[in-house]
């Protein structure tokens, strides 16, 4: 690993390896579809072509882009913001049909507000309530979108 890291930058190594793996997977998956003949290409032809291109790109990322600046490190992800946003979207998916628009928007906004740490729970609650009121007034009531506000 250490020797690899001296040769290639870590970010490019990871990126290239992922692309390469995706290419191999695509080739494998495409091999399950009929390739057809050149005059009448089947459903496996185009994906097979793409798989080969992905493999080439993966190698290119590691060998060409990875040897430009070897010190390029992986950036630090915003884990908290990512989790809060994913939770917000997940809650919307869970609640929109089971509970209705108002609870879904309320939960989504509240969860999304956890991306930042600088506000109090009361602030989050007030924000979520405000957004919910606006959404209920705008989308089902003013625009007439077919969404139940609350379902029992």
């Amino acid at each position: 690993m250490e020797r690899l890291r001296r040769l290639f930058s870590l970010a490019d190594l990871v990126a290239g390896a992922l692309v390469l793996a995706l290419g191999v997977f695509t080739l494998y998956e495409a091999s399950g579809y009929a390739r057809g003949s050149m005059a009448n290409i089947g459903p496996g032809f185009f994906p097979g072509l793409l798989g080969m291109l992905l493999v080439a790109c993966g190698i290119g990322i590691i060998l060409v882009e990875g040897t430009r600046d070897r010190s390029a490190a992986l950036p630090r992800p915003e884990i908290r913001a990512a989790l809060a946003t994913v939770a917000a979207l997940g809650l919307f998916a869970l609640l929109i049909e089971r509970a209705g628009l108002a609870p879904a928007v309320m939960a989504t906004t509240y969860a999304a507000s956890y991306a930042t740490t600088t506000v109090t729970p009361l602030f989050r609650f007030v924000t979520a309530s405000g957004v919910t009121i606006v959404c209920v007034l705008v989308f089902p009531i003013a625009l007439g979108l077919p969404m139940r506000i609350v379902t029992w």
Partner: protein, 502 residues
């Protein structure tokens, strides 16, 4: 050469569409929301389109597209405000405006800079718009002779341009393009009935839901990456009389706008490149032709005027390939195509003749919208400065909710929100690994068309791949794509020499 009688007749039709009260109203909503998201750093045009999508289902297609287009070019106006006042670009294509706009603000010339960017944006839009009105109809006429091989080769060229010109990591961008093409394959193959890459999930049988994927790839990573960057100080309000440029300023900006506008028009019309490249190019050219290049970076007014003209000119000409060939130049155009298709209109060579009301109505609405933007951005500039101080703790959760509703409203399908979530995470991971998502979206849109045209070309030629080189127009496109590859190798060698030298 230009048929003036036909042009004026068409423009009259356009005015009759664009000057209706409804069209004016929706154009106003579009450009206002566009300016709003353009002004805010970290909130992009994509999110704004997602928020307004629910509205478009209730509207006639011409009005829907007028409104969505308003967001697009309105965003290009707003982007420079934060660049100048906070040294933070509101949109990627106004990043280069920071270089001289922020120093101008620090020298007490923020008002002049804001005024000049608006004038430059307007001038650029008008230049691009004139080109669009003059070039699109004959181009569509010319493209009538395109058959499958020409379309396939043109798409190869467009995707190569998107991958190679748009970034300094061509293999990454190319991988993005290919990943996009691959995602376009997902679903049941029309001809053979084979289910490809669906993993048995019925939602995917009809292909990936476009809107959810695009908003996931663009909107969600933006939210994640920018929510914690903190609130900024509220910039000072600008007084009207501090906004007017001096006579010396005018002398400098006029030629800069002409050059910037031409550069922008070119890069906008090229499928795959757009406002961001155009603005960087315009800045570089301006610095090179200047007799006093040392002033750049210290508040040179040309350095603000040229890229803003280029950016807006590119935004208008980006409609050329979209409306004439049905090949979108950038992700926003791709979404716009999607919106047209939801209304049962297939953009392409036939659009101008089959739906002249949409084409010419759109053109005239651009003119109207740009006049509105002039009013929004000069007399009302202080309103937008105040927008910059909305706390992110309120703004970002609210946008998250609006985006969810927007995406859900397209098909009223919970599965679309799941797709939004998955592609949001994918987009964020790609961002961290320094992949660009714009080429991916182009690939996703063009993928099915490309496979279809490849299949048909080979069918006509009975399996001979030389068909792409034997037809002159197709060969020209592929030749240009080949030149791009040569340029790629040359620039990589040059880069390495420079690296070794330092």
């Amino acid at each position: 050469m230009v048929d003036l009688a036909a042009l004026s007749e068409n423009l009259a039709l356009g005015f009759s569409v664009a000057l209706s009260w409804e069209a004016l109203f929706y154009a106003m909503i579009g450009v206002t929301l566009g300016t709003f998201v353009g002004v805010l750093p970290g909130v992009g045009t994509m999110s704004a389109i997602a928020m307004l999508l629910p509205l478009t289902f209730l509207m006639e297609p011409a009005l829907a597209i007028i409104m969505l287009a308003g967001i697009y070019y309105g965003g290009a106006y707003g982007g420079s405000t934060a660049s100048i006042l906070l040294n933070l670009p509101g949109t990627p294509s106004s990043a280069v405006t920071c270089l001289d706009g922020y120093p101008m603000a620090r020298n007490g010339r923020a008002g002049v800079a804001l005024f000049v960017t608006t004038i430059a944006s307007f001038a650029g839009s008008i230049m691009g718009l004139m080109l669009l009105a003059l070039v699109a109809p004959p181009l569509a006429q010319f493209a009538l002779q395109f058959r499958s091989p020409e379309y396939f080769s043109l798409m190869v060229l467009g995707l190569m341009a998107a991958a190679i010109l748009a970034s300094s990591s061509p293999f990454r961008s190319l991988a993005s393009v290919v990943l996009g093409l691959l995602l376009g394959v997902v679903g049941i193959d029309m001809l053979s009935g084979t289910s490809r890459f669906t993993f048995g999930w019925p939602t995917l049988f009809d292909g990936l839901p476009l809107v959810a994927v695009v908003i996931g790839l663009f909107g969600v990573p933006e939210l994640i990456a920018n929510v914690r960057s903190g609130n900024y100080q509220r910039p000072q309000a600008v007084r009207m009389r501090d906004m007017l440029p001096s006579r010396d300023d005018w002398k400098r900006i006029r030629p800069a706008m002409l050059r910037g506008g031409s550069i922008g028009a070119f890069f906008g019309a090229l499928p795959g490149t757009g406002g961001m490249i155009a603005s960087f190019m315009a800045y570089a050219v301006e610095k090179r032709v200047s007799r006093t290049p040392a002033r750049f970076g210290k508040g040179a007014i040309e350095g603000v005027a040229a890229p803003e003209t280029a950016n807006n000119s590119a935004v208008q000409t980006a409609f050329i390939p979209t409306l004439t060939l049905g090949i979108p130049g950038d992700p926003v155009m791709a979404l716009m195509l999607g919106a047209l298709m939801i209304h049962g209109i297939t953009p392409g060579t036939a659009l101008i003749t089959s739906n002249p009301d949409i084409f010419w109505g759109l053109i005239v609405s651009f003119l109207v919208g740009n006049v509105m933007l002039l009013l929004l951005n000069i007399p009302l500039i202080n309103l937008w400065i105040r927008v910059l101080s909305i706390p992110r703790q309120i703004l970002f959760p609210a946008i998250t909710a609006f985006v969810c509703i927007g995406v859900y409203s397209v098909n009223l399908a919970v599965a679309d929100i799941v797709v939004l979530m998955v592609f949001g995470l994918l987009g964020y991971a790609l961002m961290l690994l320094r992949f660009q998502t714009a080429p991916l979206v182009l690939g996703l849109i063009l993928g099915p068309m490309m496979e279809e045209n490849l299949r048909r070309s080979l069918l006509i030629s009975r399996g001979d791949p030389m068909v792409f080189l034997e037809r002159p127009i197709s060969a020209t496109f592929l030749g240009l794509a080949g030149l791009l590859l040569v340029w790629l190798v040359v620039s990589e060698i040059r880069r390495r020499r420079q690296l070794r030298a330092t």
